[in-house]
């Protein structure tokens, strides 16, 4: 399973949490250009990982967000066509779920990345679907 290189992942996570590039550069003691380059590469890698995942399982892509690292798709689960949600979680890689059964790990991650304000499963699905 795809994992971003450690330093790239750290920079991407800081940006996804809402830090500005200059703040990331100052806190890590690197140049802003280096932060910008790492973010561009991280986004391209995340796009590629989500697209590859969708292609492997023949999922129909609905949305892919490389800034916050998530994908919404339509896929088959048994005989039913269901919604599939996948998230890139730092140090773990891509984790996903079908329908509205949001795992606690993903919910917590969505709060940390400010995708949702509070750990509310319905709110998370609503935000991903609008």
């Amino acid at each position: 399973m795809i994992r971003l290189p450690e330093s790239m992942e750290r920079i991407w996570t800081m940006r996804a949490k809402g830090m500005r590039e200059i703040e990331i550069a100052e806190s890590l003691g690197i140049s802003r250009q280096a932060v910008n380059k790492a973010l561009k590469e991280a986004k391209a890698k995340l796009f590629e990982a989500f697209f590859a995942l969708a292609e492997t399982f023949s999922w129909e892509i609905v949305r892919v967000n490389a800034e916050k690292g998530f994908m919404v798709a339509r896929g088959r689960c048994g005989n039913k066509t269901m919604r599939v949600y996948a998230f890139y979680i730092p140090q773990r890689g891509i984790r996903g779920f079908f329908g509205e059964e949001v795992p606690e790990l993903i919910l917590q991650h969505a709060v940390e990345l400010r995708i949702v304000k509070k750990p509310d499963k319905k709110e998370l699905i609503k935000l991903l679907e609008r």
């Binding site: 391209a44 697209f51 949305r63 892919v64 967000n65 490389a66």
Partner: protein, 248 residues
């Protein structure tokens, strides 16, 4: 090696078949708004002088996106008969989504400026309707009421999720009924009934939108691509965009 090969072959260009950039933001939206303003103001200010009419139509056609293509790692959106090109580097794109596939996707969220243009034309049309005296030629009422019906239907269609097509059609029918009542209050006759058919057809066609909407979100703003092409063409275009976005 890869870089040497690509520099020998030049930058790869590929047209996105069946995909058209929309005029929902940037210079194309300015052209669309200007054309609408010229048409609206022209009818009031220069009712007998019609050369403004052609300027409005040229601006309207120029605002329509004609094609989209991939050039290396850049997406090129062509407007104004191909003279205006908007370039989006793949590095700028943070999100790609197919709006009509979202459960609760509404167009207004991703194209609020065009919503504001429709709202402006509705307010103008309502103002003109209530300030128009009775006893004028039928065409003057039809123009204003047609604008009320079309702009209100478009606003409703933009705030109702894509999947609720029947709700959109219901909203358009209600707007047509209200339009009929408004015409009746100004004319006190039924001679406008035959004209209701073209107004209804235009409104229902505008509201019954089966296009695919692809949104590209960048830090600078959002870009909207539309397609009425068959599903396989849309999927091919999506794959091409995905290849551009992916890491080499």
């Amino acid at each position: 090696m890869g870089k040497k090969l690509s520099s020998c072959l030049g930058v790869l260009k590929m047209k996105l078949e069946g995909i058209r950039p929309s005029s929902f933001s940037g210079p194309p939206l300015v052209m669309f708004t200007l054309s609408l303003l010229i048409l609206l103001a022209g009818v009031d200010l220069f009712p007998t002088y019609h050369s403004y009419f052609w300027v409005a139509w040229i601006l309207l056609f120029a605002s329509w996106g004609i094609s989209a293509e991939v050039s290396g790692k850049t997406l090129v959106l062509k407007y104004a008969f191909g003279f205006l090109k908007i370039r989006i580097s793949s590095e700028e794109i943070e999100e790609i989504l197919i709006l009509n596939r979202l459960e609760k996707g509404v167009l207004l969220r991703y194209a609020p400026k065009i919503g504001a243009v429709y709202a402006g034309s509705l307010i103008y049309a309502l103002y003109r309707y209530f300030t128009l005296p009775e006893g004028l030629l039928l065409g003057q009422y039809l123009w204003i009421v047609g604008l009320i019906v079309l702009s209100s239907s478009m606003i409703l269609s933009m705030i109702i999720p894509f999947r609720k097509t029947s709700y959109k059609m219901f909203g358009a029918v209600i707007a047509l009924l209200i339009g009929s009542v408004l015409l009746w209050f100004k004319t006190w006759t039924l001679e406008w009934i035959p004209w209701l058919i073209p107004i209804s057809m235009v409104t229902l066609l505008a509201v019954h939108d089966s296009s695919d909407y692809i949104v590209l979100k960048t830090r600078k703003g959002k870009y909207l691509l539309t397609s009425n092409a068959p599903k396989d063409k849309v999927e091919n275009a999506l794959k091409t965009i995905m290849e551009v976005l992916s890491d080499d």
